[in-house]
């Protein structure tokens, strides 16, 4: 029952959201692209001449760009690997019958609600500090030399912290998907004599394929923007060993005030994120019937 008036009022009601988002996205986006072609540094006031592809050239040929790209890849890949496989195991475990299910789940999921700055500082100081941290104490108990986490294995340490935050997210989503698994199908397979592994590989895993893809894609989007965890632990160091693309852009635009260079980096980050976004959008779009 669609009348003409409900059509026009519908347009009226939708437009504030659309216009606001359009402004929020399009205006800064155009500015970023525009700035990326200017020689524009906040420390050197005056003219901002057109600089062609100069910013892109310098940003890409800077050795820290290469390092940042590799670090970003390792960080995102490492966290995805840990959270997806760990989340799968945890979801299957938490789905089993047990006592005190509610409280166990709540404890498991809690890290997701800890703000990133807090999570990073807790792990950095209370656990990974080589002198007073718990890991250091445990190492000493076994007569081992404590590891200087952020000196010796900085990137792995950050991967560990980020995984602690995101493992609950992956688990929660996979658990939700697991609960919609057809139990009768499982029982039928059992009667037919399917082994535990067969049931897992031929029934559970295919059922979860979609949820796993969603977990990977959504996490990738968020992980590409990891910032606070690096800021409060290593500041991108030592050297460039924990500098990601996001962090590198932050350094050149807000610490070195090089707007042109930062913007060129921003455009590159947007292009990279789009590769992931396209796949995710397709998946969600398929599921959407209006």
């Amino acid at each position: 029952m669609k009348t003409k008036s409900s059509r026009s009022s519908s347009l009226l009601m939708i437009s504030p959201s659309v216009l606001l988002l359009l402004g929020w996205m399009l205006v800064p986006l155009c500015m970023t692209v525009y700035f990326s072609f200017l020689r524009y540094n906040l420390l050197q006031p005056g003219a901002t001449p057109f600089s062609d592809w100069e910013n892109y050239y310098w940003f890409i040929t800077d050795p820290s760009f290469n390092a940042a790209l590799i670090n970003t890849f390792i960080l995102v890949g490492g966290v995805l690997l840990i959270t997806t496989i760990g989340g799968l195991g945890a979801a299957i475990l938490l789905d089993k019958p047990m006592y005190g299910k509610g409280i166990i789940r709540i404890m498991f999921i809690a890290p997701f609600f800890v703000m990133p700055t807090v999570a990073a500082l807790i792990w950095k100081n209370m656990f990974m500090n080589p002198v007073n941290g718990i890991f250091g104490h445990i190492a000493k108990m076994f007569g081992l030399q404590p590891i200087d986490f952020f000196g010796q294995i900085p990137l792995a340490s950050i991967i560990f912290i980020v995984s602690w935050i995101w493992l609950p997210f992956a688990t929660l989503i996979l658990l939700t998907a697991l609960q919609s698994l057809d139990q009768e199908q499982m029982e039928a397979a059992e009667i037919d004599g399917a082994s535990k592994w067969n049931k897992f590989f031929y029934i559970t895993l295919p059922h979860l394929a979609r949820a796993i893809t969603v977990v990977i894609l959504i996490q990738t989007i968020f992980l590409l923007s990891i910032f606070a965890e690096i800021l409060v632990t290593t500041n991108g160091g030592p050297g460039t060993s924990t500098t990601t693309l996001t962090y590198l852009i932050y350094v050149s635009s807000l610490l070195q005030f090089d707007v042109g260079m930062g913007s060129a980096g921003g455009v590159i980050a947007i292009i990279l994120a789009n590769f992931v976004a396209i796949f995710l959008m397709r998946m969600i779009g398929k599921n959407l019937d209006t």
Partner: protein, 277 residues
């Protein structure tokens, strides 16, 4: 006999799951313990800390006195609830029209809104920073509220849309037949029915805004800084004062941890945009 075997596996499952959940939760328990210890006790060996006799609330008052927790807490409350309510105000009409008067473009608009969420924030950091500087919005509550409401607007619209879709449109039509105007239809029929959905939308978005650390750190300094910034200031050298850092951390995460426990189910729906139910 069969029952006892079942019980045994159930006990075994409980044991394994509780152990793993305990490990995941341990850092949170640990900072709660440390926050109740004196600074000297807090840097001793873990077992000594556990069995040291002295418990104190001293760190909490020190943190408040030194870095004004309450001011940051208030900023966090204003920014996260403000941005959620602002977003809701804009999103409810949009979600209503997409759920009940869908057109040819509805799906495209929904997908496009989602795509704005995929824009890496760092890609627009510079322009937003400069716009904020020129409009004197840097380090203001209103500036952060606006940014976070725009940031979460796609999620709010999507969540509301999926909740509204579950309400049979016949009920709204009946109200219209009875002569209810559009305003009355939304205010008196739709909103009361969608209240649980709206509540969970609010909950999830408050959590997301509370923990948002990229824009809040980059766009605020002293006046409007929420708890994310307050904690970042403990990164060094105050981070070495474990009791104080723990007290500050507990105070920063406690409110949202409690809210989070109520929102587990909505979390999945809100963060997967309906792709997993």
């Amino acid at each position: 006999m069969v029952v006892s075997v079942k019980n045994k596996t159930k006990i075994a499952n409980t044991f394994i799951a509780a152990t793993i959940a305990g490990i995941m939760f341990f850092p949170i328990i640990w900072i709660i313990i440390l926050s109740l210890k004196t600074e000297n006790d807090a840097i001793r060996a873990p077992l000594e800390i556990l069995f040291s006799a002295q418990w104190t609330l001293e760190s909490f008052s020190t943190v408040q006195a030194r870095s004004d927790y309450l001011k940051h807490f208030l900023n966090s409350v204003v920014i996260s609830f403000g941005s959620t309510l602002l977003g809701l105000l804009v999103a409810i009409p949009a979600a209503w029209s997409m759920a009940f008067v869908p057109g040819k473009q509805t799906k495209n608009i929904l997908m496009w809104m989602l795509s704005t969420k995929m824009l890496p924030p760092v890609g627009v950091l510079v322009p937003i920073y400069l716009i904020f500087r020129d409009f004197n919005l840097l380090d203001t509550r209103i500036g952060l509220t606006i940014v976070l409401s725009l940031l979460n607007l796609p999620i709010i619209v999507w969540m509301l849309y999926t909740y509204f879709k579950e309400i049979p449109s016949e009920i709204l039509e009946a109200a219209r037949m009875d002569g209810a105007g559009l305003k009355a239809e939304i205010l008196h029929v739709l909103l009361p029915m969608a209240m649980p959905g709206i509540a969970s939308t609010i909950l999830l978005n408050v959590i997301l805004a509370w923990n948002e650390a990229f824009w809040t750190i980059n766009l605020s300094a002293a006046n409007a800084a929420p708890l994310t910034v307050f904690i970042a200031s403990y990164s060094s050298p105050e981070g070495l004062f474990y009791a104080k850092l723990s007290a500050a951390s507990v105070m920063a995460i406690a409110p949202i941890l409690i809210l989070g426990w109520f929102s587990q189910k909505q979390l999945v729906r809100g963060l997967t945009f309906g792709a997993v139910k």
